[in-house]
Amino acid sequence: MKRAVPILLLTIAGLVPLWRFEAEPETVVAAPEAPAAAAPDTAAPDVSGTSQAPAASGAQTVTGSLISTKYGDVQVRLTYAGDQITAVTMVKQPNSGPTKMAVPVLVRETLDAQSADVDTVSGATTTSGAYVQSLQAAIDAKGD
């Protein structure tokens, strides 16, 4: 028996937002800090502003190039702490039409997932050599 297959494609490459024409509201993840009217995202880390770089934590922001889409121009700014992306901000986004904007969900899901305490880790086959420095090795070493 074949089931209906609702695959949710939420993001698109290179931090170009995916523009979902008349997307269902619940399928869309709002930008954490969209300057336009996007809803605040409570799961996103609290960053103080797009132009401010918190000095102490070594945070830095990188602004992507302007990308033209059929709905208008799009520009994204990323905030890094070290190598890790901590926030995604829309610098420019179209404000017309029934388009909805999605932040790169790989980033967002990663942010959400880090706080989770996990029992085990699934990934492509870890070789015994790579295992030594893997998350699973840390879990095994932790004990009960």
Partner: protein, 248 residues
Amino acid sequence: MRRVEHIMGFPISVDLRNGDPAAVDRAFEWLREVDARFSPFRADSEVSRLDRAEPAPNGLSPDLAHVLDLCDHYERATGGAFSARIPGRGLDPCAVVKGWAVQRAADLLAAAGSTSFVINAGGDVATSGGPWRVGVRHPLEADRYCTVLEVTSEAVATSARYERGNHILDARTGRPVTDLLSLTVVAPTLTVADATATAAFAMGVAGIEWAAEQEGCEVFAVDADHGVHRTAGLPVAGASVAGASVAG
């Protein structure tokens, strides 16, 4: 009790929360037997002998026949994208053997009375008596998770193309798959989860939907454009982490 052994070239961790610890010995013993019998890297294994077309004294063993049937099933189901016989290479049923063997190890623990355990075989996970929280390795950052799943007794398997290391070939072209980074399948058994994840990955992006159509399978995938795909029934840990969902 927890124990880790390195068999078939990857670490296998058992986290047994109840039941007879001696069953863990038997499970590892079984996995070492599988390595000896089914490794294509051992010249005297059943697989290597079959590949050389050497007659086996007692014919094909039922286990090997079963493994080859599974390989044939997934080869047909993927239109040839997955194959244990990629042209120019030897017979390699590893992708199916791993899930099947570890699932049987899990069955051994259950048969010995354990109702709560996790086996993690190089990133493929069989469970019983959860809830168990299973982090899925981020395809780009080895020390992070891209999602966390919560399962009770399901299995979780991931096929992926990380920056370094394994490449999965599309047997139809003989070329590595490049449009997917990571594909994770949750299924009732690791036999199905692992084979489905591997076979789907060989199909590339089209494999996401294919995997989702397989009986009892839920899918989480990251494509090469960093797009995240998942089925509505994916057991994401914690409703708030789910972020978004669609009705199925």
